[in-house]
């Protein structure tokens, strides 16, 4: 919780700024609409967090989301009864992709940046090979409900987000999370204490794949079927996690902060829209803010610097 404070403060400021321009945002409906929009990225960021904190990258999630949506549309093809089996299949595919990423990274000792880059190429190639170049078919109403509908006034996606968030926080407090964190900080020390390093890392990749599957289910309903639905999401997710103060390289940062980072990114988009910055320049502002935020994170808190090699004496 303590580690999530800076990003939560930034998030509160951004939300206040949004509310200032658009008072509707303060009403439950307005806020829920925002949360609904943010849910896919927040979930994806939570998945990416597990991978990053273990010291790895997952660049394949964007193309995995696209692949999942394309597969869902093609297999369901508007048929309502196919909804649940296909959702189950999507989840299995997500887990399987994560499994492959994890196994190749740990057992074959290929840097995860390369493994998941390869996976990105394979997934985008394979899916379009299979679908013949352009997405075909259609999603069912039942499928789309996850991204669009809700339970009373509360969107399904927000409920799913809450469940995912709670599960992620619980996982990080459980033995799995603690050992994952140590594996990211010092893999050798973890292994020599009996931690099954490969297994926890593979599990982290599978969680990321699972998160991508859930994100795909939400986005399929929310944004519709297209070949671009997941484009660039891997970078957004990594950016969100880093915005939350999680360190690339592993071993530091909280999952709550990572999810707050995703909310912050989404709040930023909303704010840019509200202030009428054209859709095009939005990227520019986003780029500047990401750099500034991460730079500020890197130079903040001088009284709690990170001990580097050789600094231990100085600090003691």
């Amino acid at each position: 919780m303590k580690r999530a404070l800076p990003i939560l403060a930034v998030l509160v400021v951004l939300l206040a700024a949004i509310a200032f321009v658009n008072p509707f945002f303060l009403e439950p409906a307005g806020f829920l609409a925002f949360a609904k929009r943010a849910a896919p990225l927040v979930i994806l960021a939570a998945g990416q967090y597990f991978v990053i904190v273990s010291g790895e990258f997952d660049l394949s999630v964007g193309s995995l989301v696209t692949a999942e949506v394309v597969i869902a549309a093609r297999l369901i093809d508007g048929e309502e009864p196919a909804t649940w089996p296909v959702i189950a299949l999507l989840i299995v595919i997500g887990l399987l992709v994560g499994l492959v990423n994890g196994v190749v990274t740990t057992k074959l000792r290929v840097p995860s940046f390369i493994v998941t880059l390869g996976m990105l190429l394979v997934l985008s190639g394979a899916v379009f090979l299979w679908s013949g170049g352009a997405p075909r078919g259609a999603l069912s109403e039942g499928f789309r409900a996850f991204g669009r509908g809700g339970l009373g006034p509360v969107p399904w996606s927000v409920l799913i987000l809450l469940a995912v968030g709670a599960a992620a926080i619980w996982l990080m407090r459980a033995d799995f999370g603690k050992t994952l964190m140590v594996a990211g900080d010092n893999e050798r020390a973890a292994a020599l204490s009996g931690v099954r390093v490969h297994r926890v890392k593979i599990f982290a990749f599978m969680l990321s794949g699972l998160a991508a599957a859930v994100t795909a289910i939400l986005l399929g309903g929310f944004a519709g079927v297209s070949a671009q639905v997941g484009q660039g999401l891997e970078f957004s997710a990594i950016t969100a996690v880093v915005l939350g103060g999680v360190v690339l390289g592993g071993g530091r940062g909280s999952v709550l902060a990572a999810m707050a980072g995703a909310f912050t990114l989404e709040a930023l988009f909303t704010l840019l829209n509200l202030y009428g910055i054209s859709g095009a320049l939005e990227f520019t502002v986003q780029g500047v803010i990401i750099i500034v935020a991460v730079a500020a994170g890197a130079v903040r808190l001088p009284w709690k610097f990170t001990p580097r090699k050789g600094d231990a004496h100085a600090a003691s």
Binding site: L117, E282, I290, A295
Partner: protein, 323 residues
């Protein structure tokens, strides 16, 4: 020559990638022959060289950044931007070629400077820093352009299409860039220091190397290479295009080519020769698929698998040596 046994030298990734390249050419020959065609015709060789040139130039630049322990995700958008800047300034006039080229080089050097300074001065991880700069350029592109713009004069298109004997001018340009980079890395102080900074930044710093400056310089060089690639693509298209860089996937693909060539993603180990091999390998792969008329999506799949397998092989060999 320098006292290392031949067997050990053959274990270096650079040798592996060229052996793999020869193997692939042989395999391609057989496959295409079985298919009833002829592999490595004049036409296909020229094709390989043409296809390789732009990626090859970017990858050489990327090699420098990666060797220094960094990486650059902004090259794809920078290529688009520089193609547009070049074509707009040229505006079809021969007389504008020199100012256009100068502007492109200056602009890309500036972008590299920004990348480098954000990484070293603001201490932002290279991944995030160059991603941020990529977004900034993307926003500018989207804001200013909807489609192709500017016009490249005929005389400048020589760069993209002419050839001297069997060798396209663009391939010569690539070779030139690669040779300069090789020379830089193996014969100059800057090159030695790039390896040192990428190998162990702390060691480099304690040896009195201004590590920040080295990282900034590699980013400037990397971006200039992207700018040159932008010029090449503009000359080939006859105009600038806002999507030419991203359509080619030059950001991730150049990184892939570098690691395929045996350069360690963590820096400090590898070189330009391997990268040239890596780029050629990808191009030959392309050519084989084209000649066999395989669906282009298969290409992506195979490409992804090949990259991962190659790096797995290098990882295995490194392990074998240290044990």
């Amino acid at each position: 020559m320098n006292g290392i046994p031949v067997a050990a030298r053959l274990r270096e990734p650079t040798q592996v990638v060229f052996l793999a390249l020869l193997g692939l050419i042989a395999l391609g020959w057989v496959l295409v022959a079985l298919d009833g065609g002829q592999f490595l015709t004049m036409e296909s060789v020229v094709g390989i060289q043409q296809r390789s040139a732009a990626l090859g130039i970017v990858a050489v630049g990327q090699t420098l950044a990666i060797l220094a322990g960094s990486l650059d995700l902004s090259v794809a958008y920078l290529i688009s931007l520089t193609s547009l800047v070049a074509a707009e300034i040229m505006a079809g006039q021969d007389g504008n070629i020199v100012p256009a080229v100068a502007a492109v080089l200056a602009l890309s050097a500036l972008v590299g400077l920004v990348n480098g300074l954000v990484i070293t001065r603001l201490r932002v991880h290279a991944f995030i820093a160059t991603l941020g700069v990529a977004l900034i350029i993307r926003g500018i592109l989207d804001h200013l352009y909807d489609g192709p713009a500017g016009k490249v004069p005929e005389s400048f298109q020589v760069l993209g299409y002419s050839r001297i004997g069997p060798v396209p001018v663009s391939a010569l340009l690539w070779a030139g860039v690669a040779v300069v980079a090789w020379f830089l890395l193996s014969r100059t102080r800057l090159g030695y220091r790039i390896y040192a900074v990428g190998g162990n930044e702390e060691v480099a710093r304690l040896s009195g190397i201004r590590t920040g400056r080295i990282v900034v310089l590699t980013h400037v060089l990397c971006s200039v290479c992207a700018g040159v690639a932008g010029l090449l693509l503009a000359s080939r298209l006859g105009a600038g295009a806002p999507t030419v860089g991203t359509d080619g996937g030059y950001d991730l693909e150049s990184i892939a080519a570098v690691v395929l060539g045996g350069t360690a993603l963590a820096g400090g180990k590898g070189g330009v020769a391997g990268t040239v091999g890596g780029v050629l390998l990808l191009a030959v792969l392309d050519t084989i698929f084209n000649q066999l008329e395989v669906n282009s999506f298969v290409k992506d799949v195979v490409r992804g698998v090949v990259i991962v397998i190659a790096v797995a092989v290098y990882a295995r060999r490194t392990k074998g040596r240290s044990a």
